[in-house]
């Protein structure tokens, strides 16, 4: 259901520029369907926002790991059509994560905080990136994991919290110019018991990624989950150089 809504919403964004009547209609429908949640979101006062962030922090501190299924839709300027994918994500505070995408273009993305691997089983190839060099990639990873890693989120983002009909909305806008170049706005939708339900990432170039999470658990994660050794015969590339 959400995919449909999101898809229509995104189409509205991209096709408004061409002012086609079809996009106006679909956009209007999307706005209509999406409107209730917007109308019912009430901004939290500062004290309540602080309390909410404190509760989130406590919950993360009690269980610094999380895993969930996800469904994602990307609208990127390179492509005319949005891309949908689904898979599972594991996260261990402060910066380890693993993301497996299934379907026709499977991939595994693994990071231990210092290294990032993206492995394509179909092509038997892997990309290797070094993190921590203040490259745009670091900003990208920070944005990618922001929904799961709300540790010290106030120091990285300006936060605007509001109470929705069911749960909360956190609108994050980056403080650092390096992150601003990659991310314009990041919205996190939380349930009443503070589980991440959906994230909406808008980039300055107009690209937008909406991710819906389900089946969140906070069971311990095997440390091997965040380790990656390229299988024999894998072609390894380093697209950003050394």
């Amino acid at each position: 259901m959400f995919e449909t809504l999101s898809s229509r919403c995104n189409r509205r964004q991209s096709r408004l520029a061409t002012t086609s009547s079809a996009s106006i209609i679909s956009g209007t429908i999307a706005l209509f369907l999406f409107a209730p949640s917007l109308l019912h979101a009430e901004p939290l006062v500062a004290a309540d926002q602080k309390s909410l962030l404190s509760r989130i922090r406590d919950k993360r501190a009690a269980a610094p790991q999380v895993q969930a299924n996800f469904q994602e839709e990307k609208n990127i300027h390179l492509l005319n059509k949005p891309i949908s994918s689904s898979g599972k994500v594991w996260f261990q505070a402060p910066n380890k994560f693993r993301r497996e995408v299934g379907g026709n273009s499977p991939s595994i993305t693994i990071s231990d905080g210092q290294q990032l691997w993206i492995y394509y089983p179909k092509f038997q190839s892997a990309e290797h990136y070094s993190l921590g060099k203040r490259s745009p990639l670091d900003a990208g990873i920070a944005a990618l994991t922001a929904g799961l890693n709300l540790e010290n989120v106030e120091s990285t983002y300006h936060i605007s919290a509001s109470k929705a009909e069911k749960g909360y909305e956190l609108e994050l806008t980056p403080r650092a110019p390096s992150l601003k170049r990659f991310l314009q706005r990041f919205t996190i939708y939380l349930s009443d018991d503070l589980e991440v339900q959906r994230t909406d990432m808008l980039q300055p170039n107009g690209d937008r990624i909406v991710t819906v999470y389900s089946g969140e658990t906070r069971a311990p994660i095997n440390p091997n989950t965040f380790e990656f050794t390229p299988p024999a015969g894998t072609t390894i590339t380093t697209p950003l150089g050394r």
């Binding site: 990127i76 273009s105 179909k122 390096s178 590339t237």
Partner: protein, 843 residues
């Protein structure tokens, strides 16, 4: 008629004639100075000639655009790092708007659309420059199936979440730019090789190239006036805490050094005149002779400067120190002559007789003193340094004229009827010392000899070691804003060190290409073997006309309509946006045009916009003459040892490729043996010259031995003092040793020659010891005043000479004299102590 009588006749009876000659000489010298004065501010001209590394450094500094580069740095407080990141684009834009700024690099060109577009603009010549096999492989990707497979793959990678396709499609939608730039890739990591942000993010660096017409001192000063005005208003709009706007670069240094020359001239000359005048007045309580001495020394300086300009056509900045040194040296003669003259007047002689006696008694000593000093300074020519050669010749000329003028022109300023001297406490003190020392030479020797010997032992002992500073910092001006900026940048940036450069020149483009291909392969091997940490060369940018021709022939076989059709259908099939591939079709058009035309390809330099950030990279490798290029080798450790230098000198060159290896660190390390050679061999030659001269002069082996021992212990005291006071030797102040030898030997000559001829020791010897002390003190003051110079080479030379002369004077008074007294028969000594004539009442 004796020479002394002739001189006395000339300066007392033919005064108008002498004044006219002095006036004409002065006018001629001033005319030369006004019409021919040219100053050489090139610091590299202080280094010796004949070293390829020095010549390479000069070529690199003169012919490469980097000499017009300025590096700006913004430094903020740790709490303001985000504000700095936001402010940086504003600052960069302000820089670009400056009329003196040709281009600015504020970040990696790969991060800006302009940077990517500029790179695409030069893709075609780089593509055609590929090795024919690689070119064939690259063209194979333009087969319809290849295009389809690539775009499908990119689509799938986008779906998988890889950032790579976005990067690739932004730069290289056709898939040809990447392979074309592959040889270039190792050079293009500007962000990584030259990080523009410090790790703690409190500093941002901005590289600029200026449009100043030349790198001469006046153009640099003009530029820096504008830059300083910009610095003052550059932080407008900054809302954080204190923000430093720093700037460094060659132009900043040149402006600072040339301006500090004026400061150095004023400070050292005024300081020298003030100190010397003070010492003279304390010694003689007379102003008119002081004025005469000053005017005579000024005449010496004028003549020497005019002679220097006529000989060398331009004078290096180090010769700024010449006047202070000449005043410090020339005043010795004036003090000696006047001391003797005054003594004769005090004994009742008239003006002409006193002139005759002073010239007669001291003429020989002054001649040999001037000769040894002149030879000592002329020995600077052996250093092979243009600047020091000039300094040596100027001082040698000046000191010889000082000797002549002090025995002629100086007397013009002495009033024929001067009042008698008042009580002379200094002469009394010296006389008492001489009387006591002559009576008890052993006691004095028991005190002075052990002290001087201990210092000599310390000097030759390996511990504490002599500090030998060969770092680039040792050449940097004191109190330098450019130096502060550079040190701040270096301190905040990750540990990096200056690379060694290999300069390669070729006769034509093909030869340049072939040479760099060979060098690139060789250096790659060195890197694999771990002999070097890394390297970068212009191999990718040195295009081969032969390859371009071959690959263009091959390009003609490509079916461009089919390629275009395949690309269009693949774009549609994979759902890519058409805008993403606009540059791909543009490149295909260029390729087709290159294939169909027989005309030469346009030079890639003309395709790169003048303001493109890529020029920063290109200019690193190419001089104004595109056939003059350089590559860079990063060593595993900072280059400090001879072993490292020798390894690089052995390994970096490739047979058949003429290469000049250079770089500041490499050159300074290369010069260490030269500097030690200066210190040991040439100083030893100087000592041999002095020893031979002394043997001829004294014809007495005991006095000769005493003088040699004095010189040895004075040098020992000098080295020991520098060790104990932690004063470093650098590449240039090692020259002080020969200067101290040359000047210090004079004190011994004055004292021992008078000692040999003395009829009344306390009269004759005290009569020369007092002027020698005054002369020594004035020379120490003259050299010591150089310590106030901003130019570190002058200041270091001044300190070292002042220390050396102090020990020369001390050893002469407290060792030479008692040793000579001890060596002579006692009976003669006692006899000589009886006064020959009645002492003047005032003494």
């Amino acid at each position: 008629m004796r020479l002394s009588t002739n001189i006395a006749h000339l300066v007392t009876q033919r005064r108008a004639l002498v004044w006219t000659a002095v006036g004409l000489l002065s006018v001629a010298c001033i005319y030369v100075l006004v019409t021919r004065m040219r100053l050489d501010t090139e610091v590299l001209n202080l280094l010796p000639k004949g070293f390829p590394s020095v010549e390479g450094l000069k070529v690199y500094n003169q012919d490469f655009t980097q000499v017009r580069a300025l590096t700006f740095a913004l430094v903020c407080q740790p709490d303001d790092v985000d504000k700095l990141e936001e402010f940086a684009p504003t600052f960069a834009q302000r820089l670009r708007e400056q009329p003196w700024c040709a281009r600015v690099l504020a970040g990696s060109p790969m991060e800006t659309p302009e940077g990517l577009r500029d790179l695409q603009a030069i893709a075609l010549p780089l593509l055609l420059n590929l090795d024919p096999r690689q070119f064939e492989e690259t063209l194979a990707t333009l087969q319809p199936a290849g295009i389809q497979a690539r775009l499908h793959r990119l689509h799938e990678e986008i779906e998988a979440g890889s950032p790579r396709p976005q990067l690739e499609l932004g730069l290289d939608p056709l898939g040809l730019v990447g392979p074309a730039l592959k040889p270039f890739a190792t050079n293009s990591a500007v962000e990584e090789d030259q990080p523009l942000t410090s790790p703690d993010r409190t500093m941002r660096v901005f590289l600029t190239v200026t449009n100043q017409p030349s790198i001469g001192a006046f153009d640099c000063q003009k530029l820096m006036r504008e830059v300083k005005a910009f610095q003052k208003q550059a932080s407008a709009g900054w809302e954080g805490g204190p923000l430093q706007v720093l700037v460094t670069g060659r132009s900043v240094y040149v402006a600072e050094i040339s301006l500090s020359m004026r400061h150095d001239i004023i400070v050292t000359v005024l300081g020298s005149i003030l100190l010397v005048s003070g010492v003279f007045y304390i010694g003689f309580h007379r102003w008119l002779p002081l004025l005469g001495m000053g005017c005579t020394l000024l005449l010496c300086c004028l003549v020497a400067l005019a002679a220097g300009l006529l000989i060398f056509r331009e004078l290096n900045m180090v010769t700024v120190g010449f006047c202070a040194i000449l005043i410090g040296l020339g005043v010795d003669f004036a003090i000696l002559i006047f001391g003797r003259y005054q003594q004769a007047r005090d004994e009742g002689s008239n003006h002409a007789a006193a002139v005759t006696e002073s010239v007669s008694n001291l003429g020989r000593a002054i001649f040999f003193g001037a000769l040894t000093t002149a030879v000592g300074f002329m020995a600077l020519m052996l250093a092979g340094s243009g600047g020091f050669t000039q300094l040596g010749v100027l001082i040698a000329v000046g000191i010889m004229f000082a000797g002549i003028f002090m025995m002629t022109v100086f007397f013009l300023f002495l009033p024929p009827n001067s009042p008698p001297s008042r009580s002379d406490w200094m002469f009394s003190l010296v006389k008492h010392y001489v009387r006591w020392m002559v009576a008890n030479p052993a006691r004095m020797l028991w005190i002075s000899t052990p002290i001087l010997l201990v210092l000599t032992v310390i000097a030759v002992s390996p511990k504490p070691p002599v500090i030998f500073d060969v770092s680039t910092h040792s050449m940097e001006p004191k109190r330098s804003d450019a130096g502060y900026a550079l040190n701040t940048i270096m301190a905040k940036m990750p540990a990096r060190w200056e690379p060694v450069i290999g300069i390669v020149q070729a006769a034509d483009a093909q030869q340049l290409h072939d040479r760099w291909q060979t060098v690139d392969a060789h250096w790659s091997e060195l890197q694999r073997e771990g002999k070097i940490k890394g390297y970068s060369t212009p191999a990718a940018l040195a295009l081969s006309p032969a390859r371009l021709q071959t690959n263009r022939e091959r390009l003609r076989a490509l079916d461009f309509p089919t390629v275009r059709a395949a690309l269009k259908s693949s774009i549609a099939a994979e759902g890519f946006s058409a805008n993403t591939f606009t540059s791909a079709f543009g490149l295909l058009d260029q390729m087709q045009a290159a294939a169909q035309s027989r005309a030469p390809l346009p030079d890639w330099r003309t395709q790169l916009p003048a303001k493109s950030s890529w020029w920063f990279l290109v200019d690193r490798y190419f001089a104004h003459d595109p056939l003059l290029t350089t590559g860079f080798v990063t060593t595993n450790e900072p280059l400090t040892t001879q072993a490292q230098k020798q390894m690089l000198a052995r390994e970096m060159p490739v047979p058949g490729v003429p290469m000049t290896i250079s770089g500041w660190s490499f050159t300074l390390t290369d010069l260490v043996p030269w500097s030690r050679h200066q210190l040991i061999v040439i100083s030893a030659l100087m000592a041999i010259f002095d020893a031979t001269l002394l043997a001829i002069l004294y014809r007495d082996w005991r006095l000769w031995l005493i003088q040699i021992a004095t010189l040895a212990m004075a040098i020992g005291g000098m080295i020991a003092s520098m060790k104990l006071l932690h004063i470093p030797l650098n590449l240039l102040n090692v020259l002080a040793f020969r200067l101290v030898l040359a000047i210090g030997v004079d004190y011994g000559i004055y004292v021992l020659l008078v000692w040999q001829k003395a009829r009344q020791l306390d009269h004759d010897v005290a009569g020369v010891v007092k002027p020698v002390i005054l002369a020594g003190l004035t020379a120490i003051c003259g050299f010591g005043s150089l310590g106030a110079a901003n130019n570190p080479t002058l200041a270091g030379l001044g300190y070292a000479c002042a220390i050396g002369l102090f020990w020369s004077l001390t050893a002469t008074i407290f060792f030479t004299l008692p040793a000579a007294a001890a060596a002579e028969p006692k009976s003669w000594r006692e006899e000589s102590l009886q006064p020959r004539i009645q002492e003047p009442k005032h003494v």
